[in-house]
Symmetry: C2
Subunit: 492 residues, 2 copies
C-alpha cells in the first residue's frame, strides 16, 4: 500500500507524525493547530472513554455538561488559574456575520454585533463550574459533589503536534467539592490511582505516580498528582493529572456550605483530567517501525480475517469458514473484522492491518481449507503459526491475553532500564544526552535549582515519586541536603 514509515532510529519525531496519519488515526485540519480524529483513531478513543467512564461511575461520579464559553469576568476570578491560561485563550468577540458589500458572496464580521463582554473558549472549566457549584452547594447534604464532564477544550498552543499538543483537544475533567481537606486530598489521590490503574492494566502503559513540584503544578492548585510515562525515545510524557485545589476556587467563587452544626465554611476541591494526549502515549509506548501496535483492550477489532482466493468459488468456501470463525469469536466477546473487500489484494490488506496494529491476523487460503488450518499472525512479535480451526477460538483467547501482558511487560522493562540514579550534575548531563529516560537525582527543593537545570539541559522534574523510600543525599547542583530523589527527564 506504499505506506512504509521512516524508521524510529532515523527520526523518531518523523516516524510518529507519519504513523499517526498512515494508521488513519488523525490528521491536521484546515484550522491551525486543530486535528481531525479519523474513524479508526476515534474508535480507540471511544474505548478509552468507555473504560474510564465506567471507573468514574463506579466511584460515585456523575456526568454533566457545562457551557463551552466562559465570560471574561468569571475567567478572571481565580487569579492564578487565569494567569496560567490567559496567553492561550481563544476569544469570541462577535456573534454575527453579514454580507461583505465589497466582495459579493463573501461574509464579514458584523461590527454592530460586538459582545459587551468577551467570551473565552474554555481552556479548562474550573471557573465556570465553580460559579455553578455556588448555587448547587448549600448544605452538608449536598456534599460531596462529584462531577465529571467529557468535553472539548481549547488552548492556543504555538507549536502543535497531533494528539500530543493541539489547540483543540478532547478530554474529561472531573470537579469535586468536599467538606474536609482530608477527603479532598483522598479524592485527588484516588483519581490519580484510577488513572495509573487504567493506563497500566487497560492501555499496557507503565506509569510512575507522584507529585509535581510547585513550578510544574496546575495553575490554581495547591498540589498536583500526576502519572508519568516513558516513551521509546527516552522522553517522558505526562499522561494524567489530579489536582488538590485547596479552597482556592471556593474562595474565588464564594462557595460555602452550612454544616450539621449550622456553621458556614468554604468547601475543599479537586479537579482531574486525561485527554486525547493518551493516544500519543499509546502510540509511542508500543508501536514499531511497521506501524501501530495496539493492546487488545484498545483495538477497534482484535482479530482480522483475510481470505486468500483466486476465484469466486474459493472465495465462497473460504467465506463460509471465515464467517463461522467470526461468529465463534464474537460469542467469546472477541471483536473481529472479516476483510472481504474485493477492491484490494491480500498483500495490501496485510500491510494495512499491520500499519493499524490489529493484534491478530488470520489468513485463510485454499490449502487451509484442505488441512483444516489457518495462518495466525501476531502483530506485536510478528510471529506466524498454523493453527487447527478446531482449536482457534481457545488459541486466540490465550494469545490476546498474552499480547496484552507482553506489551506491558516489554514497556515496563524498557522503562525500568531507563531510570538512572546519578549523584553529580556531570553524570546527570551525560546520561541525559547518551541514554535519556528518567534520571533520579537529589534536588534541594528550590525553584532556582529546578530552573537552572531546565535552562541548561531542557530536563524538568517530572515528579516527586510516590513509591520511593526517603534517602538522604545532596543536591546535584548546590550540594544542599535532600531527603528524597526526584525524577528528571526531557518531556513531551
Amino acid at each position: 500500500m506504499g505506506k512504509s514509515l521512516t524508521r524510529r532510529d532515523v527520526d523518531y519525531s518523523k516516524w510518529y507524525n507519519e504513523l499517526v496519519v498512515k494508521a488513519d488515526l488523525a490528521e491536521n485540519s484546515a484550522v491551525r493547530g486543530c486535528m481531525t480524529i479519523k474513524p479508526y483513531g476515534y474508535a480507540i478513543w471511544e474505548k478509552i472513554q468507555a473504560e474510564l467512564d465506567k471507573k468514574f461511575k463506579e466511584t460515585g461520579h456523575q456526568n454533566a455538561y457545562f457551557p463551552l464559553l466562559v465570560p471574561k469576568h468569571l475567567f478572571e476570578a481565580e487569579e492564578t488559574n487565569a494567569e496560567g491560561f490567559a496567553k492561550e485563550c481563544a476569544v469570541v468577540t462577535h456573534y454575527r456575520l453579514k454580507n461583505d458589500e465589497d466582495n459579493p458572496g463573501k461574509l464579514k464580521v458584523d461590527e454592530t454585533a460586538k459582545l459587551e463582554e468577551e467570551l473565552i473558549i474554555r481552556p479548562t472549566s474550573e471557573a465556570l463550574i465553580w460559579n455553578t457549584f455556588k448555587s448547587w452547594i448549600q448544605s452538608y447534604r449536598d456534599l460531596p459533589l462529584k462531577i465529571n464532564q467529557w468535553a472539548n477544550v481549547m488552548r492556543w498552543e504555538m507549536r502543535t503536534r497531533l494528539f500530543l499538543r493541539t489547540a483543540e483537544f478532547l478530554w474529561q475533567e472531573g470537579h469535586t467539592a468536599h467538606i474536609t481537606k482530608e477527603e479532598a486530598i483522598e479524592e485527588a489521590e484516588l483519581m490519580n490511582g484510577i488513572y495509573a490503574d487504567f493506563t497500566e492494566k487497560f492501555m499496557a502503559i507503565p506509569v510512575i505516580k507522584g507529585l509535581k513540584t510547585e513550578s510544574e503544578r496546575f495553575a490554581g492548585a495547591d498540589e498536583t498528582y500526576c502519572i508519568e510515562a516513558l516513551m521509546q525515545d527516552g522522553k517522558a510524557l505526562q499522561a494524567g493529572t489530579s489536582h488538590f485545589l485547596g479552597q482556592n476556587f471556593a474562595k474565588a467563587f464564594d462557595v460555602k456550605y452550612t454544616g450539621k452544626d449550622g456553621k458556614q465554611d468554604y468547601v475543599w476541591a479537586t479537579s482531574w483530567g486525561v485527554s486525547t494526549r493518551l493516544m500519543g502515549a499509546l502510540i509511542m509506548t508500543h508501536s514499531d517501525d511497521n506501524g501501530l501496535v495496539l493492546p487488545p483492550n484498545l483495538a477497534p477489532y482484535q482479530v482480522v480475517i483475510v481470505p486468500i482466493f483466486k476465484n469466486d468459488e474459493q472465495f465462497a468456501e473460504i467465506s463460509k469458514v471465515a464467517l463461522q470463525i467470526k461468529s465463534d469469536l464474537q460469542n467469546k466477546n472477541i471483536s473481529v473484522k472479516f476483510d472481504d473487500r474485493d477492491t484490494h489484494k491480500p498483500g495490501w490488506k496485510f500491510a494495512q492491518h499491520e500499519m493499524q496494529g490489529v493484534p491478530l491476523r488470520i489468513a485463510i487460503g485454499p490449502k487451509d481449507l484442505e488441512k483444516g488450518t489457518v495462518e495466525l499472525a501476531r502483530r506485536d512479535t510478528l510471529e506466524k503459526s498454523f493453527v487447527n480451526q478446531a482449536d482457534l477460538t481457545e488459541t486466540i483467547k490465550e494469545k490476546l491475553e498474552e499480547i496484552q501482558n507482553h506489551l506491558f511487560d516489554k514497556a515496563l522493562k524498557y522503562r525500568d532500564e531507563h531510570i538512572t540514579e546519578v549523584n553529580t550534575y556531570e553524570e546527570f548531563k551525560e546520561i541525559l544526552e547518551s541514554k535519556g529516560g528518567f534520571i533520579s537525582a537529589h534536588w534541594d527543593g528550590s525553584k532556582e535549582t529546578e530552573e537552572q537545570i531546565k535552562n541548561e539541559t531542557k530536563a524538568t522534574i517530572r515528579c516527586i515519586p510516590e513509591h520511593t523510600d526517603n534517602q538522604s543525599g545532596e543536591c546535584i547542583i548546590t550540594g544542599q541536603a535532600s531527603q528524597k530523589r526526584v525524577l528528571f527527564a526531557k518531556a513531551y
Copy 2:
C-alpha cells in the same frame, strides 16, 4: 420539598421552565443562552446517545471528530448554507488575553493577537467536513463514506429556552457521501426512518415522517426529511431532520471520485442530526402537573426503593430486604436506586422521585416486613398497590413494559385526536385557535401562500407527510388545485 409546579392549564410555558429546573435536568448558566445540563438530565441524554449510537453503527456508520472552529473562507464556500447561518455565528477573533494595566488583577484582549482570518464556532459542520472529505475521497473504493460526529454546536439565538433553543447545544451530525443520487436519497430516508423508529419505540414519542417544504428546508439541502412530534399544548416540535444535499457541497468543495471506468464525477451527499432538543420533546410529551414522567427506557433508574423506618433496628431489617430486591432486579437488567439517605424524610423523597419521573417506586415499612409485601407506585398513572415480595421481580418487569407502552399509546391517542382536516381558511383559523395540533389542509404548493398563512396565523407547514394517500382538493387560500394535504401547526 417545596417543589410544586405551575399547572399546565394555567401556564404551559411556565410549567415547562419550572419542571426542567425542579426535576434537576438543566439550568441557565452565566453565559447568555447557554445551559448547564445537570447530572440527572445528562444521564437521560446518555441513554439517548447510547441507543442512537448503536443504531448508527449497526447501519455501517463510523464516528469521528472534526474541529470546533471553521475558518471563514470555508464557511462561505457553500453560499446557501453560509447565508442560512451567518446571522447566528459566534466569531473568534483573538487568541490571547493580557493583563489590563488599568485594572490590576483583570485581563483584556491582547490586540496584537488578532487572527488573520476569523474563525466561526461550528453552527453545523458541513463546510469543514466536506473540505476534509475532499482528501478522503479519491476513488469508488472510498465510497460510500458514512461518518457521524457527537459534538457541541453554537447558534446565537436571540430568544432561548432550556433544551428547546439554546445558543450551545449537543447533537450528533451524520455526514455521508455516495456514488449515486439514488443511494444518497436512500440513506437520507433510512436515517429519517431510524430517527422515527427511535423516538417512537425508545422514547415513546409518536412522530410523523415527511418532507419539509422548500422554505423550511435546511440551508444547502435539496430535500429535508423530518420527524414531527406533537406536544401537549398542541404545538408541534421538529424532533429530527435528515437532508439530501444533492451535489451542493461536493461542488462547493470540489469532491470528486474516480469510478471503476476511470471517469471522475462529483459525489452525492446527506447529512442528518438530532440534538438535546429531544429532551424538550420528551418532557412535553409525557410529563404532568406533578413533574417529569419518563419512559422506562430513558430513566436513569427505573425503580427507586424508599425505606420507611423509625429507628436503626427497623432500618437495618428493611435494608436487608431492600438490598435483596435491588440485587434481584439488577440481575434482570433493571436499574434500581436504594434511596437510603438519612438526610431526608420519606415524604421528601417521594416528592423528589415523583418530580424526577422515576417509573416505579417501592416503599418498604415495618408492616411490609411482617406481611412480606411492599408498596409499589406507578409514576405514569400514580396507581399504588401492594405486591408480595416473592412476586416482585416479575411484577416489575411487566409493569415497566406496560408503562413504556402506555406512554406511547397515550401520546399517540392525543396526537391522532389532534390532527384535524379542514377545507376552508376560516375553519383553519378556528381550529388553530380553539384546538391547536396538526391541521391537515390543501395547499397550492407556492411559497407565497405558505408565507401568507405564516404571517397571518403563525402556523407553518410542518411537513408533507410520507404516509398519506394522494387526494385531490383545493388550496384553502387560493382555491388552486392540490394533490395532497400537508400538515400545518404552530411549532416550537
